[in-house]
């Protein structure tokens, strides 16, 4: 039961971020993409994710960032958490940071192709914003290929 609540809450958190983010017009972005926390995420981390969700809802991204950083200190090998941080940095227009964090998430994502595709989307967004159009397109292709797998 707790799990369902957690996943739903995390969905809300990042759905919110994604919807806004979708207003940045980048070809191929699908606002419905969200990543639920990994199944093995501890309740300590879930409690922080919930607070981070509240902070994002209130528009307090810096607070959300502090909370998310606490999660990666507790579970540094949890790929979803790095993904959330990447998404937040993207939302704050820190594109280089967002790319690094998304790559980190990919590095830990193992066979989670859904997560990897979403990370590539973040990279595509960021590269596009940084003016690297061909890099953005290549990243978008990777996202697409992973998504269809």
């Amino acid at each position: 039961m707790k799990w369902i609540i957690s996943i739903v809450s995390a969905f809300v958190l990042f759905a919110c971020a994604t919807t806004k983010q979708a207003s940045v017009e980048v070809p191929g972005e699908d606002p419905r993409h969200t990543v639920a926390p990994d199944r093995n995420t501890s309740s300590a981390v879930i409690s922080l994710l919930e607070k981070a969700r509240d902070a994002t809802t209130q528009g307090d991204y810096e607070r959300a960032e502090v909370l998310l950083e606490r999660t990666v200190r507790i579970e540094p090998r949890n790929a979803s958490l790095w993904h959330y941080l990447a998404k937040l940095r993207l939302h704050q227009s820190h594109y280089n940071d967002a790319i690094g964090l998304a790559q980190k998430s990919n590095n830990l994502a193992r066979s989670n192709n859904h997560l990897k595709a979403d990370n590539w989307r973040i990279i595509a967004h960021s590269k596009y914003q940084l003016g690297d159009v061909s890099g953005a397109q290549a990243a978008q292709m990777k996202a697409k290929n992973l998504g269809s797998q």
Binding site: S42, S43, A44, I46, S47, L48, K51, A55, E62, R63, E65, V66, L67, E69, R70, V72, R73, I74, P76, L85, R89, N96, D97, G100, L101, Q103, K104, N107
Partner: protein, 802 residues
């Protein structure tokens, strides 16, 4: 006797924070000017009185000047508030790997007091593996943590449960307040914690007025009767025994004047006190007094004001002090060293009791309360939080990283709250191990106190520095070798060379054979450079893995020359090398000078699978009102291919299993895989070890400041200290990551052929996908492995006895 010890005070204090709400000042000097005109006319006729007129004018001008000074200073009165520096807060959650004893150490560092029945914030009790704690409230950047009454249970080196003690509900996560590890002080090391009059217990102003200045609310800044009384008493005694200063005068003395005892100073003091009283509310003056007064000395740090004194002596905020504690602090005003709570506890107790009796006389307290309080001991903290001399190397790093954004003056005066990455338990353990190991090695080698050391420990993923030592005496704030001792890194450079080779995966893998034979090269200055191996032998054709784990110099130089400097320099810079490497052959054996901190940055990138993050010591900075000021976010940058880093790491693990660092095997738990590299420079002048686990990276350097030969190799020196530290701290093993980009194989490092775990000295190594050797070793097929031999024996026995 001096009324209170005053110290030299610079009237132009660094200003930072406004504390007093002041009403608008009245126009100055009006009353003085008013009486002038009629007198002036009268005086004009009498020439000798012109002198008097001149004198009066000077006096008036001087008073106006003093008025200007007093108002200017008091209204802008901002105390220089040193920045407060905190360790990382401990986050508690089920499953956290933490020893109960280390948890108790943390509570002790936080000055939590052991109590049979913890009722107040900052108290705890331990029953074997269960702790009952009342946590302190604390404001962080993200969340204001409130005080909670909790129960924390440990089992098997982990937290097994955290519950709210009242309703027994499980807590997912709990963050303790952080340990205060130091402050950043101005040259004059005044420290204080500002409080407003509304925040202090109501009793405090009452006690202060009753003890220091009974007529405070009635007089005009000075109390002529008190002065006369003091004057008579002093004449009678033949020396100065009484002060007669009002609270206002004491404040003036502290604010504006020096400790000089002269009539002129007294004159100034009286005028300024009257002016201060004229312009400002009594309560503003009292509040300033409460924050200004000097109440003790902690090394070089001066404890000012009741807010800080309360924390310093009793470990509690001023709001929580009782009558006993408040009167004890008031008793200190007369002379914090004369009434020192440790050295002269009897004097302090006697003075407190005199004050208590005085309070009864003035009906501030009841006879009953007096009787109850008089018998109580003054329990000041035994181990007070002294912050002035702790962890100088780490604080040095924090200051340097802060200075990129804040000028020194702001750091020492704005009361910033700095949240750092230090793990205080690891820091203390590292300090202890450095002291022990350096003393032992220095004794063995007859180096006296010349053997020096520096250590940096960081989290590998977040690149947060958790401990740092820059001297063999970790409390000594001198040359910080961790940041400033730039020394040749020796073989610590080799992973950079081998990584550059492995990057050319079509040419090199771990089993590629290279020549370890003597080589002579022309050095930059035209001389001939002939590198030798440590054992003075050449080993002929060896595999890459053998050359690296055994740290063969001749093979490495040949390999490096083959790859070329540009490729090696590119790898070096990607890993975080601070500057380009100069292109000469000795660089291949680590002629480059780097500080331990710079080496840590390079190895952090390896430890984090190629994700480089700048080493950080600060997480967040809040201002004096707990408002967010600046964050130092976690930043990661994929600077080098992860698969490639995993390949080199698989080799660095072998260094600690079969190579120059194999002595670690017997020192660390069997399941704790670590990777690393030893480094020794010419004539054993520098002894290095840089290594990492799955969660931490650590670099140790040993040597002397004047470049003596220590007789210590990387293995016999730095590695030993590294082992001391890593067998003590809580860390996780390094696992070889499986990924699509690499193949993990068992090979024989001697032949370079495929092998298996059961075969003699085979090792597990990573290869870039598709580049692993395909040739099968004899052991693999002949089944000469121990398991196979055993199986065959069993089969044979079965057959015989069928």
């Amino acid at each position: 006797m001096a009324r209170r010890p005053t110290r030299k005070r610079n009237p132009k204090k660094k200003v930072s924070r406004r504390v007093n709400k002041t009403r608008k000042p009245k126009r100055p000097g009006k009353s003085a000017r008013k009486s002038d005109n009629p007198v002036l006319k009268f005086l004009r006729r009498i020439p000798w009185r012109r002198l008097f007129l001149g004198g009066s004018l000077i006096l008036i001008v001087y008073t106006v000047y003093l008025d200007f000074v007093v108002r200017g200073q008091f209204e802008d009165k901002r105390w220089a508030l040193p920045a407060q520096v905190y360790a990382r807060p401990l986050e508690l959650y089920e499953g956290l790997s933490l020893k109960a004893d280390n948890f108790e150490r943390e509570l002790n560092l936080l000055n939590y007091r052991y109590a049979y029945n913890p009722t107040e914030a900052g108290m705890f009790q331990r029953h074997g593996n269960v702790f009952y704690i009342v946590t302190r409230p604390f404001t962080f950047w993200d969340v204001k943590e409130s005080s909670q009454t909790i129960e924390v249970a440990f089992s098997g080196g982990q937290i097994s449960a955290i519950k709210n003690r009242r309703n027994k509900k499980e807590l997912a996560l709990l963050r303790l307040d952080p340990v205060l590890i130091g402050g950043i002080y101005p040259l004059k090391k005044e420290d204080r914690k500002l409080v407003s009059l509304n925040d202090v217990p109501e009793l405090l102003p009452e006690i202060l007025v009753a003890v220091e200045d009974r007529k405070f609310y009635d007089h005009y800044g000075v109390d002529p009767i008190a002065i006369a009384r003091a004057f008579l008493a002093n004449i009678r005694a033949g020396k100065s025994v009484q002060g007669g200063s009002t609270i206002t005068q004491q404040l003036v003395k502290n604010f504006f004047l020096t400790n000089e005892r002269s009539l002129w100073r007294k004159f100034n003091e009286i005028i300024m006190a009257v002016l201060l009283d004229w312009h400002y509310e009594k309560d503003d003056i009292l509040q300033a007094y409460i924050n200004e007064i000097y109440l003790g000395q902690d090394g070089a740090r001066a404890i000012h004001g009741f807010g800080l004194a309360s924390q310093y002596y009793f470990g509690k905020p001023i709001q929580q002090l009782n009558l006993n504690q408040l009167t004890s602090l008031v008793a200190l005003i007369r002379g914090p060293s004369y009434y020192h709570p440790d050295k002269h506890a009897d004097r302090l107790l006697a003075r407190r009791n005199r004050i208590l009796e005085g309070l009864l006389e003035q009906k501030v307290i009841s006879a009953d309360l007096l009787a109850r309080t008089k018998g109580l001991p003054i329990n000041v903290l035994k181990k007070r939080q002294t912050t002035s001399r702790r962890h100088p190397a780490f604080l040095d790093l924090v200051k340097r990283q802060l200075r990129e954004f804040y000028p020194e003056s702001k750091l020492s005066s704005d009361g910033l709250r700095i949240f750092t990455t230090m793990n205080p338990i690891v820091q203390l353990d590292v300090e202890q191990k450095v002291k022990e190991r350096v003393a032992r090695l220095a004794k063995q080698r007859g180096l006296g106190n010349k053997l020096q050391s520096a250590v940096v420990i960081a989290n590998s993923t977040s690149a947060e520095v958790i401990a740092m030592v820059g001297d063999h005496n970790p409390r000594f704030a001198g040359f910080n070798r961790a940041l400033d001792a730039s020394r040749p890194i020796g073989s610590l450079i080799k992973p950079v060379v081998y990584l550059s080779a492995l990057e050319k995966s079509d040419q090199y893998n771990w089993t590629t054979r290279i020549e370890d034979k003597s080589i002579s090269l022309k050095a930059k200055d035209g001389s001939i450079w002939t590198p030798m191996n440590y054992d003075r032998k050449s080993h002929g054709s060896v595999t890459l893995i053998t050359a690296m784990t055994k740290s063969y110099n001749q093979a490495t130089v040949r390999l490096g020359l083959d790859i070329g400097f540009p490729a090696i320099n590119a790898t070096y810079r990607k890993l975080g090398g601070p500057k380009d490497l100069p292109p000469y052959p000795a660089i291949l054996l680590g002629a480059q000078n780097l500080t331990p901190f710079e080496v840590t940055q390079i190895y952090q990138t390896l430890a984090a699978s190629g994700f480089r993050s700048p080493l950080r010591s600060i997480r967040e900075v809040l201002d004096v009102d707990d408002q967010p000021l600046r964050r130092y976010p976690i930043q990661v940058k994929q600077s080098i291919n992860s698969d490639l880093v995993n390949v080199i790491n698989s080799g660095l693990i072998q260094v600690t299993k079969q190579g120059t660092a194999r002595s670690l095997l017997s020192r660390l738990p069997a399941d704790l895989h670590v990777a690393g590299k030893t480094g020794t420079t010419n004539d054993t002048r520098d002894s290095w070890f840089a290594g990492f686990t799955g969660s931490h990276v650590g670099v140790v350097w040993l040597g002397t400041d004047d470049n003596l030969s220590t007789g210590l190799t990387g293995s016999s020196g730095a590695l030993q200290l590294w082992g001391d530290i890593f067998s003590q701290i809580n860390t996780t093993g390094l696992a070889l990551e499986q990924s699509d980009g690499i193949d993990i194989e068992w090979v024989d490092p001697g032949t370079g052929l495929l092998s298996k775990a059961a075969c003699g000295n085979s090792v597990q190594l990573a290869f870039i996908h598709g580049t692993a050797p395909t040739e099968r070793g004899e052991c693999l097929d002949s089944g000469s492995g121990i398991q196979e031999r055993f199986d065959r024996t069993v089969e044979w026995i079965k057959r015989i006895f069928r």
